[in-house]
Subunit: 318 residues, 4 copies
C-alpha cells in the first residue's frame, strides 16, 4: 500500500452519514488527514470510539445513581488519573494508519496491547522509500546516557555521512530489485533491506494503552524518531479527541515529580533544615558514598538532585 | 446503575449527527436497544467501530495495491477465517452494556482480552434483583457429562424449589439491608448476597475475541445461562454488524467438523472399505479397547463415532 | 479440591531432586507451605521461575558485554524500577494455590494478565465453607470515602450480625444440598450460594504483573479482605523470593510520593516562601475555591495537603 | 551480548542444587544447550516451570476429588486439547535465549502474549553477524501462493547473488562502523543495517501460547526461516519437556483435518454416492462456478479437493 493507494478518505462533510454513536467534532474534522512525521512518514486517524464523556460514563457505572451529580467530569477524570483507575480509559479506542521506518516500528511494536495489521513484504514488493538523514541531523552519542544521543555533528561531517547514506540506500534497493528480477521470492529478497525502509500499518489501541505508549515515547530518553510520532499523536490527535484526559495526563504523568520513600524522607529533613540528618539518610540510602575526603554521588543521587532542584531545594551533599 | 438510570439512549434518528467514520445502518438501527435475556437481564450495544469492510481493508494492507481486485470481499473473509488469520478481525470493536447474574458474570469475566467496567457494590447498594427460576426451568444433572445439565425436573417438584428460592432470596436481601441499616460498610454487607444477584457492566471487546467468546459460549457444553447471552449477541448483534464475518464464523467454527490425524487415518481406511485396518488403527490409537470378548469404546472413540455419523459413515467397531 | 485433597506437597528436603535451573533457597524452604489468610483461606507457592538475578540477567541483555560490570545488581534493579523498565521483571514467574472467598475472588480475577484454573462448581460440589465474620470484625461504612470502611461496630451489635450470618450461611447451604438431592444440576443448584463461599484456584503470574497487583491491593483503599492476601503474598513470599526487587518496589511504589505538575509548581512557590503565588496557583488549578469569605478545598486539594504535610510543608490556604 | 558472553550455562550435573519444584529430567539434560538454527542462530532453554503433570494437576482443580482417578493423564490431556480447554496448558512456562535475524524476529515478535528482553543496539554496538545465503539456498517466488517460495534457483545463478549479498553486508557494516567512528549515536548509526543482522533475546512464554506459535510457524505457509526455529523448538524442546502434550498437539492441530459446515454437507453427499447433490451444494456454496461449458474451481474449492483427497474421496466436480 503506497500512500497514493491508501484506503479512501472519509466522505466530504456535506454528505457524511448520521450516527447514533458518540461523536467528537474536533476529531471528525481531521479524520483521514495525514500528519507528516520525519522525512516521509505520517500518522492519520482512520476511526475512533468514545471521548472524554465515555470515560466519565464508564467510571460512573461504578458509582451508581446516588453519586451521579457529586463530581464534575473534569474532577472525576483527574481523580481517575491520580489514583491509577485505568479501566475507564480503556473504554475509548482509536485506529491509526501510520507510515514508519522499520527501525522505529521495531520499538513501536513492543507495545503489545494493541491490534496491528502491517504491510507485508512477503505479499508485495517493499515500499520504495527509506528514511534519509539531512547533513545537520546526525546526532552524537550521548556521554551521560549510554542509550541516548546529544548534540549534532557539524554539517560538513554530516554531509559526508548523508551522501554515503544515500548511496548505500540506492545500492541496497538495487540489490533487492536484482533479486526480484532473478525470480527470488519476495520473502527472501527483502532480507538485506535496510532498517530505514518505510513500512505502513493499521494500529488500533485503547486510550489507556495509548497513554502508556505516549508516557514512554514522549520521555526525553526515548529515541528522537519515535518521539516525533508520539508528539504528533499526543498533541495533534489525543488533544483534540479527549482534551480533558490529555490535560490530566500531562499534569499527572508527563509533568509529575515522584519521590521514592527514601527521597521523601530526605526531603522532609531538608524542609526541616536538618541537613545533618538529610546527609546521613543519603549516605545510608547509598545515594552518596564517602570516598576518602570527598563524596561520590551515584546516578540515583544525581537524579534526586535534579528533582530537588525543580522544587528549588538543594541536596544536602551539595 | 439501575436500568432506569442507564446512560441515555442515542438521539432520535432525525437529529443524529453526521460522522466521517464507517457506519453500519443495520447496527445503528438497534443502537442502545435492550435485548432481554433470562428473567431480568439484557444486552445492548453502546458503541462500535468497523464492519465487514474494515476487516477487508485491514487484510488488504498486507496485499498492497497489486492484489487489490483479485478477490472479492466474501472470499477474502472466508480465506482469513479458514486459515486463522485473526488480526484483521481485531480491527473491529464493540461496546456493550449488559445486565447479568453474578454467577454468569463469573464465567464471562474469564475472557481476559476485553475491557470492563462493572457496577460497584462497594460504592453503591447492590442491585435489588436476583435471577429467579420458574418451576419448569430446574434442570437435572447430566449423567453423561459431569459438568452439564439435561432434562427438566417435573413442574411439581420444581414449584417447591422455586418457592424455596424466592424465600431464600428475600431473606438474603433482608439480611443485607439489616447490615446496611446497622451501618456496616457496603463492601462487607454484600458478602452473603447470592450468586444470582444481578450486576451490570460495560464490556468492550474486539471482533476476533468476541468470536472466540461466542465459539466457547455457544457450544452445547456451555451453561444455559451464558449461552442465552451468547445467542443474543451472535444472532441479534454480530449478525447485523458484520454479516459476512458472521456467516463465515458459523460455517468454519460452529458447524465445522474436525478430525484429528489419527481419526483422519481411520476415516481413510473406512472410505477404502478396509474395515480391518480401520479397526486396528482404532485399537492402536486407544479409541477402543478389547475387553474379553467385546470391545470397550472410550470417550474419544464415542466422540469420533458421532463425527463419522454426521458424514453418514460408521465406526469400524460398530 | 478440598484442602486435604490438595496437590501433594513437595518431596522432603533430603530427597529433593537436583536441577540446573536457578534456585532460591529462601523460597524453596516454604514451597507448598500454606499461609493462612482470613478465617479459612490460604496462599501457598506451588512453583516459581527466576529471582533477583534473573531480572538483572534480562536487563543486561540490553547492555551487552561492555557494560557488564558497570553497575551493581541493586543499583540496576532500582534504576529499572525508577524508570518503569518493566520487561526484565516479567522474566520471573510464580504459581500459587489459593483459597479465597468468591467475593474476594471477584476482585482478584480482574487482574487479567495471569493464568488461572479455578475449582469448578459445575464439575464438583461447592466447597462447604463460607467466610465468617467475628462479632468484633464488622466494619462501619466510611464517611469520607464512599467505597471504604472505617471503625468497627460495637461487639454487642456485631454479635447479632454474626449470629444472623451464621444462620443464613447454614440455610443457603441446606437449600443448595436440597437441590442436589432433588437431582438438580450442580451448575444450577449453586446459583444462590453466598458470595462468601470459598473457592480455590491455581494462579500463575509474572513478577511485573504481580507487583502491579500488589500495588493496587496493598493500597489503603483496597478492601481489607484482598489486602490481607496481598500482605501475605508480598511480605511472606515476594520478600523471600526477590528481596532486592521487593525493597525497591516498596520504596518506589508503596512509599513513593508523587506531585502532579501543578502541585510541583505550588510546592516550588512554598519552598520559595511565596505563599501569595502558591495560593493563586491553587485557585487557578481549582484545588481551592473562593466561596464568599472563606475558601473551599476540593478533594484534590485535600490530597495535596496530605502530601505536603508528609514533607513537613503546609498548603498555602491553611 | 555475544554468544561467548552469554549467561553462564547451568552448573554441571554432579553439583546441581536440589529443588522441591517439579522437574523434567529430559529437559534438564539439555538446559543451556544451544541448538543451532540457520547459519549462525540458535535456541536454548534457560529455565522452565511445569510439565505434562502440571497440565493434569491444573485441569483436576476443576474436577475435585471425586473424579480424581476417573481418567488417565493421557486421555485427559487429549480431551483438553480436543475441546480447546486451554487454561491448563498456561500453567507451564518456558524461557529461551534465542539468536535470530532481525527479519525473522519481526515475525516472531508479533506473538504478543510473551515476555521479551531483546539485545539493544541503542546501548551496545550491533552484533557483527548477518544471515548469509548459500548459492543453493535462493528460493524462487511461488506462483500458486503469493506469499510463499518454492523451488530453488540454480546454483550458478545463486552464486552470483551470494557474492553480491556478501559484498553488500560487508559494505553496510563498514558504513555503520564509519558512523560510529565519526561519533554518531548508536541508535542512529544502526538505521541502515540490513534486516539480516542477527539479534538476541530472552523470550518467555506459557505452553498454550507456545503451541499457538508453533501451530502458525510450523505451517507450510510460514516462511522457511521462522519454520526452522519452530521445528527445533517443537521437536527438540517441547517434545522433551511435555511429550504427552506434544503428541496430542501434533495429532489435533498439525495433522488435523477440518471441514467447514458446507464442506461436511458435501462430503456427506459424496459418502451417500449422491454426486448430483454434492455438485449442487458445491455450486451453491460458490466453490465451483459454471463458466460456459466448463466449471471453474475457486481457491476454497481447490483446498476442499485436497482435503477430500487426503481421505481418499473425490470432489464431485472432478
Amino acid at each position: 500500500m503506497t500512500t497514493d493507494d491508501a484506503p479512501p478518505s472519509p466522505a466530504p462533510r456535506n454528505e457524511a452519514p448520521s450516527t447514533g454513536r458518540e461523536l467528537v467534532p474536533a476529531l471528525e474534522s481531521i479524520l483521514g488527514q495525514q500528519f507528516r512525521v520525519l522525512d516521509d512518514g505520517f500518522v492519520r486517524v482512520v476511526d475512533y470510539m468514545g471521548s472524554d464523556a465515555a470515560v466519565v460514563q464508564a467510571a460512573r457505572v461504578s458509582y451508581g445513581a446516588g453519586t451521579r451529580k457529586v463530581r464534575e467530569d473534569r474532577g472525576l477524570i483527574r481523580y481517575l488519573m491520580r489514583h491509577h483507575h485505568t479501566t475507564p480509559f480503556e473504554m475509548c479506542e482509536i485506529k491509526f494508519h501510520v507510515r514508519v521506518p522499520m527501525d522505529t516500528w521495531r520499538q513501536w511494536i513492543r507495545h503489545r496491547t494493541a491490534n496491528v495489521n502491517e504491510y507485508s513484504t512477503r505479499y508485495s514488493v517493499a515500499i520504495d522509500a527509506a528514511q534519509c538523514t539531512a547533513p545537520t541531523e546526525w546526532r552524537l552519542q550521548s556521554q551521560g546516557n549510554r542509550q541516548g544521543s546529544g548534540a549534532f555533528l557539524l554539517a560538513e561531517a554530516g554531509a559526508i555521512l548523508s551522501t554515503q547514506e544515500s548511496q548505500l540506500q540506492a545500492q541496497t534497493r538495487s540489490v533487492y530489485e536484482a533479486r526480484l528480477a532473478a525470480g527470488v521470492a519476495r520473502e527472501q529478497a527483502r532480507k538485506d533491506l535496510p532498517l530505514s525502509t518505510y513500512t505502513e500499518a493499521y494500529w488500533k489501541i485503547d486510550l489507556h494503552n495509548l497513554l502508556h505508549f505516549l508516557e514512554l515515547r514522549l520521555d526525553s530518553r526515548a529515541q528522537l524518531e519515535i518521539r516525533s510520532y508520539a508528539k504528533v499523536i499526543g498533541e495533534e490527535i489525543v488533544g483534540r479527541w479527549c482534551p480533558t484526559v490529555w490535560e490530566a495526563f500531562r499534569d499527572y504523568t508527563q509533568r509529575a515529580l515522584t519521590f521514592s520513600g527514601l527521597e521523601a524522607e530526605i526531603a522532609t529533613s531538608i524542609v526541616a533544615s536538618d541537613s545533618q540528618k538529610a546527609l546521613e539518610l543519603g549516605l545510608a540510602a547509598g545515594m552518596v558514598k564517602s570516598e576518602g575526603d570527598h563524596l561520590l554521588v551515584t546516578r540515583e543521587g544525581l537524579e534526586f538532585e535534579a528533582k530537588l532542584m525543580q522544587l528549588g531545594m538543594r541536596a544536602p551533599w551539595k
